[in-house]
Symmetry: D2
Subunit: 372 residues, 4 copies
Amino acid sequence: MQRLGIGLIGSGFMGRSHAIAFRAVAGIFGLETVPVLELLADINRPTAERAAKALGFARATDDWQALIADPAVGLVDITTPNTLHKPMALAAIAAGKPVYCEKPLAATAADAQEMADAAKAAGVQTFVGFNYLKNPMLALAREVILNGEIGDLVSFRGIHAEDYMTDPLNPWTWRLDPAGGHGAVADIGSHILSVARFLMGDIVEVSGQIVTVVPKRPAGPGSHELRDVLVDDQARALIRFANGATGSIEASWVAAGRKMTLAFEVTGTKGTIAFDQERMNEIQIYFTGQRRGREGFKTILSGPDHPNYRDFCPAPGHHLGFNDMKTIEVKAIIDALAGGPAFMPDFQEAARIQAAVDAIVLSARERHWVTV
Amino acid sequence: MQRLGIGLIGSGFMGRSHAIAFRAVAGIFGLETVPVLELLADINRPTAERAAKALGFARATDDWQALIADPAVGLVDITTPNTLHKPMALAAIAAGKPVYCEKPLAATAADAQEMADAAKAAGVQTFVGFNYLKNPMLALAREVILNGEIGDLVSFRGIHAEDYMTDPLNPWTWRLDPAGGHGAVADIGSHILSVARFLMGDIVEVSGQIVTVVPKRPAGPGSHELRDVLVDDQARALIRFANGATGSIEASWVAAGRKMTLAFEVTGTKGTIAFDQERMNEIQIYFTGQRRGREGFKTILSGPDHPNYRDFCPAPGHHLGFNDMKTIEVKAIIDALAGGPAFMPDFQEAARIQAAVDAIVLSARERHWVTV
Amino acid sequence: MQRLGIGLIGSGFMGRSHAIAFRAVAGIFGLETVPVLELLADINRPTAERAAKALGFARATDDWQALIADPAVGLVDITTPNTLHKPMALAAIAAGKPVYCEKPLAATAADAQEMADAAKAAGVQTFVGFNYLKNPMLALAREVILNGEIGDLVSFRGIHAEDYMTDPLNPWTWRLDPAGGHGAVADIGSHILSVARFLMGDIVEVSGQIVTVVPKRPAGPGSHELRDVLVDDQARALIRFANGATGSIEASWVAAGRKMTLAFEVTGTKGTIAFDQERMNEIQIYFTGQRRGREGFKTILSGPDHPNYRDFCPAPGHHLGFNDMKTIEVKAIIDALAGGPAFMPDFQEAARIQAAVDAIVLSARERHWVTV
Amino acid sequence: MQRLGIGLIGSGFMGRSHAIAFRAVAGIFGLETVPVLELLADINRPTAERAAKALGFARATDDWQALIADPAVGLVDITTPNTLHKPMALAAIAAGKPVYCEKPLAATAADAQEMADAAKAAGVQTFVGFNYLKNPMLALAREVILNGEIGDLVSFRGIHAEDYMTDPLNPWTWRLDPAGGHGAVADIGSHILSVARFLMGDIVEVSGQIVTVVPKRPAGPGSHELRDVLVDDQARALIRFANGATGSIEASWVAAGRKMTLAFEVTGTKGTIAFDQERMNEIQIYFTGQRRGREGFKTILSGPDHPNYRDFCPAPGHHLGFNDMKTIEVKAIIDALAGGPAFMPDFQEAARIQAAVDAIVLSARERHWVTV
């Protein structure tokens, strides 16, 4: 049995989700390598101490550089606000340690590429947390596509819609800080772009549109001071893929009523696949050539015949949850570190996703198509 | 009781649907004006005779000009292939007779505008058959929007997807004739654009994308000769509306498995409305401000509290069908002819829809945003 | 072209629905026999006159016996409250005229059987309006079953749930009059029993449960006087079918929120069919033996490959509505009168349905299983 | 920090699920008491050793009595075939140790009651694994009911349908051993009965129906020898509840295509709640009194405003999975052991559930209603 010392930087939504996954993964998958929650860094000592206790880390620190240098830390795990991803990841790479970083990887595609290049030069493995890709239903969709079961790809429609910024009184947060990159197009648009690339391959060019719906927000919770919003609340893009298919993506964090719509429809010459993360344990597939009068989309429920499901449950239709996708992600990281299949998406893939984000924003500003 | 003599040109899918509606309308709505199926014109005498008998018309002709001139014909109803709409409509207008024409109105926006201008100059009423707009659920959506129930409009996503051209062996038809206008973007894209305008108002500018997926098709049924397809199979556009909202539309007739997806999602600052014609008797609405832990989209079934439903059925959830929407359309035409509320969409509105179609195609070719 | 003179007794919800269907049917189906709305009878002269005008009947009367005797009346159509079905139908039979009667056929199975026997003795054709059976999706379900596509039948679950009596202030109506028969179990339970028999065949025995949920209701609209409710608001039964399958049915008119749930699930040894009238244009079917990891229920949309759909519309997914089912029913009646296939359900079938209703009530009272 | 030593007997589907939950629970909920996987017992030494390693237990044994006696074991967790529940639980109770046992608790209600009585006499806490009750959506349903949000309860319809025994070639297993109790009615019927009691309260009487659909099965995997099936494959019952409401339940393990349908509909005088475990993260609720023309069922997605969700994820619509429900169950056990709220369902509640199972079977055999 091997031990993998985890050094987690940041302890918010994603930090907690990573910790849950690292604690669960060895039991679920019967791994030889067991992750150990060694060290947690957060912005100040008391916060870090509290989080370490709550999440089960052995030690805490307010010094992320010390965390990277710590000999017990074998994997540097970054879940901080976006602006901090780059210096932390570069430091970890410089220390020769594999890095697991939340999306979006960086504020700009250039930064993301610099990070990817550094990792490549240093021979360091990298992992980016586009967790929705790890859903067995998405693995099934990809398998169906790669098998040619729906023929040649023709069309992709992708939507990521949530409503956590619908209320104009929701205050300004670090997600609105332009120093950290774009708005909804980066924060959640990157998810649907990651799906687009996962299923359809390279994006060649885009025509984008970005919109700030709520121009000012309270400077903080309960604040009467208003602060300008300089990033987008919603974004859309037309897309041309390298394989000749076309499509569109859309991202919005002001989509009233939509809680976790990460939806897509892929059409091929012989069928169509439709999915919505709000019903993450099912997928709709239509195959041409069905008997007349019996044609229809199938609703397939997740089950043990789909990738990674059986480790959670031997019976179909019993459901995986959000944290289970993260557990699958972490399992794939540990496999990769143990010499198994390369993990995707890595920094290079995340840089390509970020390049699409940047191209959408540029296109929107210049009002014409832009090559990615 | 008044009689309105109907002169129908064309007897295909839409011609038959019009005939069914004209026969049903007076009974359903208890109208004072009763449409009478006077005269049917089709391409040759035997076809016209057969169709007249099947559809219940008193007389038949192979001369559409004679039909327009016929004194018993009070309403000229055009359901021919698109290329013929213009000369027929202009002739009817010249004869001072009201015209009911199927969509798309013309091959180009210029033609459509010329037709609208002619009607206006002649003081002739015009009616265009965008039947899906007459669904009580769409009337409800518009009412919810106009009431401000979902706040200020933010976003529109519209999709019209069918699969009747998915099979590459489906032969060339008049719908593929560039002389009749564009492809899917005009044929069904015009439907979703009509919905966009109905719910959101004027379209200011678009960025479009058009694609021919199947480049050659058999020249006719069973033919081994292949003929080039010069129009689009699928189209998409980003949209900016005059009210400041943004959105997108998509049209495809190669969407494997989609039989009658005319779907939209309208988001406002205080709620969201979602609809799909494949479930035409229900609509989903989310209102912000619901009690915590009880927030959700409502599924509203069509019923007698919605416009025009009660005339068909006094009980909710019992369902209207496709032909019922056409009956509502025809009822609104008869009301307008009797001095009631003006009918929409008329030729002028159809010209605006066509202008959006043309702008999408132009934008796709020039690869930048185009003002409508 | 033949003419079939229609004599309609009653002009409420169903009377109007019949009139709409008779007006539409010849045009939709291109029939040689055209129904003519000859004579309408209602409770008093002014009501009958108004209804005749509104529904398009040539003449009106307050004397239903005169209607039956009228030489222009070729089909006697009974849509009155249930208590009147028997004397009217027997009179029509005595006059040798075919009878079309709304469900439930009679207050008791004995009465219904007497009516069926009288018709048989007189050689008169009879037709009962269980309109939901005429939905192409139900015809498809039956075809799938008869083909053996889901193997041997194992189970049936049927539900008819509406909420029109949920509000305890909804006043007493003729539907609550015990002289007209039982309550929900007869009014709507008969529908789901008709479906059970249509799909599964004869019912051998039942164990029933009936419940009056609202014990008193206002004597009339706005009345402060309360009147006892002596019939059931909801009913359930366990069922054993002659083919060895088992199942259950349930009927409720106090099912808050359910507008037109006529739902069933039929399970066989090789598959399952599920349907809900609230989505009357689709049906779910599962077949065993699908490829592993691709198993799922198909959602089949109604279309021209399903019985009777194409006459309404050549394109799939476009939807039939409630009145269209009634039009199909009326078409089958006219076919039967013209020597075509026998119409089902006739009085004999309706008597068997009523026998099941009565058995459920008896079983509920005696608290043990009862043979039908 | 306290330690709770877990002694697990059995290592199949449920044993593994318990182990996953015990490993996860302290991290998810930040518990003061940490379960420690001390000892695993299975039928023979090698099996036990393998399972202990795979599930993360410190030690293994083939002697369940030794496990109960082991001083490091603070909670005896029984996940063996049903026939073994009773002797094991009684031994644990005799040893004064709290017992966590999978459902159904025993082969008969008498056995279950004996176990409950023994636990009560010994003052030992007991816990039964009806995991679906721990879904936040069911907690929400109960809260809505207890708040009176849907008025007085009128009706309950419960279904548990799976298809794991549909194939007649699926071999005989311990689930079919009559010594372990009844068939589907006990194995999964107990689940839906647990839901019925959770939401509706005590069951007063039932009329039941039980059916063996597949009369013989291969004696073992691949065996050509056929063995009689002496337990039911499907069961149904009509129900009267102590609160005056009525309803039905149904259980089937031969429901082709149904993977994990644990569905219910609860109707009250002011609303209705509908749920299906195949979409375990959503629930449908209808409230009477909505604005006219805006009435509809709401689809509520699980989120942090619902019980126990926030500990897994701070964002709504992100989904819990099957194992998460088990983690909530285990959390409630640990809370109860720490002096928190009493855990339900305990042995006494499980005995009442089993009494309903037995009453259904007795009623089915005697063909009349039976008091529970």
